[in-house]
């Protein structure tokens, strides 16, 4: 790892100042992806601005019909939150399945979605539940936030501050994890909301996406039997040593069925 200047601001304005004074800075949340990336020199930075000291980015609260989770809230805190467990159990269950306990003690929801790994769990959670991402500059609907692999709508220096999850009528997340990394080979969040069913898929493609064919089917009947095959084109899915595109496409249907079964139980 190349050396860098290290900053630990205690407010968003201090973080802004640190970013503005550095030539080539990187923001760090929990560091569970960034530190390995820096270690392997896949990334380098003149300065690392660590967000761990900013209290306003932490915590879980209820606001109207939404659960709002601060960007620096760890996966462990979401998994163990009574509020999340009672309002959106699907989200607690998703957080409980990320990485391993030690990674969950450090890794954060804000870091996960800002990184937008195409096999990460939280992007599917945000997109499936129709979350709104709050940043230091604006609010962005999850539908507009996630791009292709590692790409998001965030601009340079824009900091994710919190994620607001509207309460679904019912929801569940099902994941077929890579047995070594626990990243999703395919993960599917299914949510029945007032505005219809949302089905978000991670791991299968170049970034998280909604499966419109399964959404249509589930809008007709929110039942396991209603789920047929995924409507996505295999050409758009990943094929690698872990799973072919054909296999991943099949898994989308299987995981969607499992999620619907869990949501209905």
């Amino acid at each position: 790892m190349y050396d860098f200047g290290y900053h630990q601001p205690s407010s968003l304005s201090e973080a802004d100042a640190a970013l503005n004074s550095a030539s080539d800075p990187l923001l760090m949340a929990g560091g569970q992806t960034l530190i390995p990336t820096l270690k392997f020199r896949l990334a380098r930075a003149s300065d690392v601005v660590d967000l761990c000291g900013i209290d306003e980015l932490k915590g879980i609260r209820e606001e109207g019909n939404a659960v709002v989770i601060g960007a620096m809230t760890t996966h462990c805190e979401v998994a163990e939150s009574d509020l999340v467990a009672s309002r959106i159990p699907a989200l607690a269950s998703l957080a409980r399945g990320i990485g391993d306990p030690q990674v969950r003690h450090r890794g954060t929801i804000g870091g996960s979605i800002a990184n937008n790994d195409p096999a990460a769990d939280y992007p599917a959670g945000c997109l499936g539940l129709g979350a709104t991402i709050r940043t230091s500059k604006r609010q962005i609907a999850a539908d507009d936030f996630f791009g292709d692999t590692f790409d998001t709508a965030l601009e340079d220096g824009e900091i994710v501050t919190a994620i607001s999850f509207p309460l679904p009528e019912k929801a569940a997340y099902a994941k077929f994890p890579n047995p070594a990394s626990r990243y999703a080979i395919v993960g599917v969040m299914v949510a029945k909301t007032g505005a219809g069913v949302r089905v978000a898929v991670t791991g299968a493609g170049h970034g998280v996406f909604r499966d419109e064919a399964i959404e249509l089917a589930l809008n007709e009947s929110f039942s396991v039997d209603a789920v047929d095959a995924s409507g996505v084109d295999e050409e758009d899915l990943n094929s690698d040593i872990h799973a072919s595109a054909e296999y991943r496409k099949h898994l989308i249907g299987v995981m969607a069925k499992r999620a619907v079964a869990k949501a209905n139980s």
Binding site: F4, Q32, P36, K39, Q102, V103, R106, S181, R182
Partner: protein, 154 residues
Amino acid sequence: MAEVTMTVNGRQVSRDVEARTLLVQFLREHLQMTGTHVGCDTSQCGACVVHVDGKSVKSCTMLAVQADGSAVTTIEGLASGDTLHPMQAAFNEHHALQCGFCTPGMVMSAVDLLQKNPSPSETEIRDWLEGNICRCTGYHNIIKAIRHAAGSAA
């Protein structure tokens, strides 16, 4: 260089470190406490698990500067004098190690599990050890040792 101060196994230490110094490097190379191991360097294997402010973390995936002001416990801090920590004694008694390389991380992870869940089921133990890899595949006796340490074995 930045000065970091932390409490390691109850003893306050201060050193000047580069920002890029990992917590595990700080422990092994600056404090010469080599009980904490580096196995994979990719945050997968868990040989480097220590406790920071009471929670198990992978010390190869945390900067020393991030532990400034924290209380760190390593494998060297578990025993009291010649008396092994109950988890160490259980690993010893149940032969929960072969080559021993993963053992410090296994023990630190297991101690954290029992802090959160004093009577875990075998499934809960296996789930918790997701982030600890034993290349000797000695998992059965590791599980047995943790069950005995928890008093949950039949």
